[in-house]
Subunit: 334 residues, 2 copies
DNA sequence: AGCCCTTCTGTCAGCGCTTACAAAATGCCG
DNA sequence: CGGCATTTTGTAAGCGCTGACAGAAGGGCT
């Protein structure tokens, strides 16, 4: 089923069919009707590949995410999708699962698809990939990978500031020994977040911290907590890298009959919906995911009216949200 | 950047470049090396649109999901993705958010992309869309929409049986007044699941049930629970349409200081990871999501060796998983 | 050296669509 | 009714790639 068949049936040329398809330029009303009828009768749908090949553009934006299962990423994705759709763009998504080979192949896939713009919401980015991206001339937005350059926007969350707020708050509650539940991906060599924790703690001499990490999942949070608690270090508060791992931590603590927040305070990060629904509701740090999604779309899917935004860097400031998982440090055990 | 430029640089014809790209047929080793070098130097990535246009096939399978945010769907998606990748297929996903216009446009999008196969994991399907799908000659697998036909496989979960198990179990614990927390999408006209509950309850004369529904989210589960409890009906157990809404229900009950399972039993459905991690851990019904994903991929992404599976219908039998959110019915309140 | 078979490479016609550009149809006016 | 501006339609050249086919190289044999 192709343009030509539709054209034949409507007794017009393929160009005319193309015109009504793109409701571009002028087509006499009677002709248009005829064509539309033919299209419907034949249940014709234009071959998108041919279209973007011929048109030289794709009106598609690509989104690469490390872990769409984490609602934090999902919320961003969803915002991008609905914004993009509103502007007449399609979205194609690739989930890397924190695996770097997947990142590589996803990026190449997106380049191969000649996407009009690419959002990389991943936690690592090899320099060679950056080079490839540069070559491709595709506008790119990164989330938190920290390398603004021409044609590339970077959205950075001031994680450092968020962690400081958490640490200060816990300190004010009397906590002195803190645990940090991270996840593999951000405990890599260039580990902004881990450093943020260390630095925040280092500001306050009386504070002590120990970290453990696992996958960015419920189970991972639980495992890391288990690992941390079996080292002999006895924290009175657990700072979790995000809400999901925090819920995993809660589970492990429950198993060990460690009361939260009576015996142990726990904090999350992101302020995902689940953080209100778990028990106890998590004290966490809010990151405006929808705003991030909007910004990304503004950069990648320009509307007819205004041009694409092109700030090299956007910084987001996070905010502490107090709920029930934190409380005063228990007295030192007798 | 295109084939021709690479060809020129490697001093060969475009056909040869194409050949090394598809590592098809024979290319002299020295030539291959030269071409590979040119490709790398130029950071060339084939235009996928041109490729599938010329080749007439796409090696891409489409997945349409109502709500990827629900881990149940996500797990299926993830399995499909990794299976497909293993067989050399790409996956494109569309999330409909339970909105029928989105379903329509997603299906057309997939047809337009000429996907090699399509998985529809959605809860409704207008007959006209089925007709369009038929026309397109794309192999399709439905999850639980109940319309096997030529070229279309349907995977059905024996929800009826699962619900019966839940109802019987609650009945055996002494519960007589049951609440059902559904969600909009499945409370539509053809509502298999709602009927399943009604029928399961109808088998046992002493049982009574009342239902409420909202979105398929944490918040939706909470709202529906609130609505149900404010009708004056006083159930001692809540059957939730899935684990996510069940977690929403738990939250509302906590707010009302209704103890689970002391004052109220709660059951979920799906046995999503979260159901073990919430508090109290949910009694639920296990549905083998990975198995579903594998079956889907077997139908849509045939491997060189064996041909695609084409059973018209596959039925999955669910199993009860007992955890902490259910217990004996409280004595009648004095 | 001449022949034939094999291996390798090049040529070229599409795939289904868009988009100048050209051609045809229409409308308006004097 | 001819002439011209305007609207509407058709023609055809690609877009970047694949794949059938044909042609060129190379090798072994007599």
């Amino acid at each position: 089923m192709n343009l030509e068949q539709v054209a034949r049936r409507a007794k017009v040329s393929t160009a005319t069919v193309s015109r009504v398809l793109n409701n571009a330029s002028v087509v006499k009303n009677s002709t248009r009707t005829r064509v539309v009828k033919a299209i419907e009768e034949l249940k014709y749908y234009p071959n998108l590949h041919a279209r973007s090949l011929a048109g030289g553009k794709s009106r598609t934006i690509g989104v690469i995410v490390s872990n769409l299962e984490n609602p934090f990423f999902f919320d961003i994705y969803k915002t991008i999708e609905s914004d993009a759709r509103g502007r007449g763009y399609e979205v194609v998504m690739a989930n890397t699962d924190y695996r770097s080979e997947q990142l590589v192949s996803s990026i190449r896939l997106m380049i191969g698809r000649r996407v009009a713009g690419l959002a990389c919401i991943v936690s690592e980015m090899a320099p060679e990939l950056l080079a490839e991206l540069d070559q491709s001339h595709i506008p790119v937005v990164f989330y938190d990978v920290g390398t603004p350059r021409p044609n590339i926007t970077n959205i950075r969350v001031n994680y450092r500031r968020g962690i400081e707020k958490v640490v200060d708050y816990l300190h004010s509650l009397g906590h002195r020994k803190l645990g940090f539940i991270g996840h593999h991906a951000i405990l890599g060599p260039i580990n902004e977040r881990m450093k943020a924790v260390m630095d925040a703690v280092a500001r306050i001499p009386s504070l002590e911290v120990r970290a453990a990490a696992d996958a960015d999942t419920l189970e991972g949070g639980r495992q890391a907590t288990r690992a941390l608690l079996s080292t002999g270090f006895e924290p009175t508060a657990l700072i979790c890298v995000n809400d999901i791992t925090a819920v995993g931590a809660l589970r492990e603590l429950r198993e060990r009959h460690i009361g939260v927040p009576r015996d142990m305070s726990v904090t999350g990060f992101d302020n995902v919906k689940l953080s209100e629904f778990c028990y106890p509701a998590l004290t966490t740090v809010h990151i405006p995911r929808e705003r991030i999604g909007h910004i990304i779309c503004d950069c990648l899917a320009p509307q007819p009216g205004k041009p694409a935004a092109t700030d090299p860097e956007v910084v987001i400031d996070p905010e502490l949200v107090l709920r029930d998982s934190t409380g005063p440090a228990a007295r030192a055990t007798p």
